[in-house]
Symmetry: C2
Subunit: 291 residues, 2 copies
């Protein structure tokens, strides 16, 4: 009976589009926190990547709506790293099938190659969402966009220092001048015909986060840059959320998973995640947008 | 004795910067042809990816200066695909250590993550060069740029149809209007302090290829888009080469590796590669730039 319900749940979940899945995860978890799973052998307190990830997930899964493994860290470990990624995804699914898994892959390639990346991420790794780079244009994103149940977070205004160089360039389009990141956001609105598109908008750029929310009132935002990168949490929640106080997924990676480098790292990760989750909820409460 | 010479050769080769390595490969092979190794199970005449790649390499290695595996196709096959990539790289090295291996990965991520990607590509996969996406700015490329012996091909004017949407946007920078791809090329000149930077410039956009060669007189260009995508070979060689008739790496993937879908595919691949190589040489000859 339980198994049958679970299968029915899976079928039903895949009938939702990505934004509905995300809303469901946030609401059922009462959290907009995403934990970035970026295993770095120089920082991990244990040697085994899968063991590390499992213990972080075990310690935080009731506090988050999503996990975001960044593929770079797994690829940097060679094939054993990619096996650890496989195990990590399986483990998250087994712990809570509600949770959203975002492959932070920042992919972007020409048509037939983009199809291969979409297959790799959505069929082989079977994640719920991926980050993609818009530099190659619509046809490079189409294989991602055409999957309504999978989320496509377009890199728009990234959290790193060098991001302003190109993203803040003033571009002229149809006689109108605007920074490039805004042009990307308007494109993302076009790309969102199936309700599965989101934006990556760094917490380190609150002014632009606010501008993006004005342009795209209901689009899910993935907001990295809290913590180690110095983004302000309260401002990010306030400026990034939609009118209902939702759709702004606050990501923290290093600030949580490397909260401690000693044997107490799982407890430290849990404490850090709980504090973040609670601070997000408190800010929402102040705005009259509690759960 | 032979082994000692080979080791000395390897040490010496790694003391060259990327552009010198590339020149050496082109000159010793008398070829500017690159074969893209994009294994697609729906198109391969044999089932085993590594076997397919090996037979293509065996049939073409004397005709090319470089091979370009696109990582998407390996990732789409899951872990077995990545093992095939590992075997493919080993095989190319064993067949001819001169040859340049370009990982077509189109990576681009924030600082610490970009370092992980650079480690993945240059240390784990140990390729000679990679393609990268400039949308995230200088700090996202720094871990690649800081390796003088490894090439960094910046996506500039890509061969796909949608590429014009963003790459041809008119941007205003220091009071001067220009298309975004030209801004990227000028940035690439800045990024090239170690002589290891190149551009991806599609054969499907000959006008921009010509403009790019004017802006960056000696930079290596990786020129995809010949063949299946419809780019003109003769124009690409003529407009893309530098004043010495070099540094324009002409890539063909599907036109060579899927020249036949039957059991004669290795011979067909060899014939297609030889024809392309000879056409490139003939065009160079017409320009007075033979080998």
């Amino acid at each position: 009976m339980h198994t049958r319900l679970l299968i029915q749940y899976h079928i039903w979940r895949h009938s939702l589009n990505f934004t509905e899945k995300l809303d469901l995860a946030c609401q059922s978890q009462q959290s907009m926190l995403c934990v970035g799973l970026d295993p770095d052998p120089r920082l991990m307190p244990v040697k085994n990547t899968l063991e590390f990830n499992k213990s972080i997930i075990h310690a935080t899964h009731d506090l988050v709506c999503a996990y975001k493994p960044n593929l770079a860290f797994y690829e940097a470990l060679g094939l054993p790293g990619l096996r650890a990624l496989e195990g990590t995804i399986d483990y998250i699914r087994s712990v809570n099938p509600h949770l959203i898994i975002i492959a932070d892959a920042k992919r972007g390639d020409i048509g037939n190659t983009a199809s291969a990346y979409a297959r790799a991420l959505f069929d082989v790794w079977d994640v719920d969402a991926a980050t993609v780079n818009p530099y190659l244009g619509t046809d490079s994103l189409e294989p991602f966009l055409s999957r309504p149940d999978r989320g496509v977070f377009i890199l728009c205004r990234t959290s790193n220092t060098g991001s302003s160089e190109m993203q803040m360039l003033s571009v002229s389009h149809k006689g109108y001048q605007q920074p490039l990141y805004k042009w990307v956001a308007l494109k993302a609105m076009e790309w969102n015909r199936l309700g599965n598109v989101g934006l990556v908008a760094g917490a380190t750029h609150p002014t632009e986060l606010e501008e993006l929310r004005k342009l795209c009132p209901d689009m899910p935002f993935l907001v990295p840059g809290i913590g180690t990168q110095g983004g302000d949490l309260e401002a990010s929640v306030r400026l990034g959320m939609n009118s209902k106080g939702r759709r702004s997924i606050i990501n923290s990676s290093r600030g949580i998973i490397y909260a401690s480098h000693s044997r107490d790292y799982t407890q430290a990760a849990r404490d850090a995640a709980m504090q973040l989750r609670d601070n997000i909820t408190r800010t929402l409460g102040h705005m009259g947008k509690g759960w």
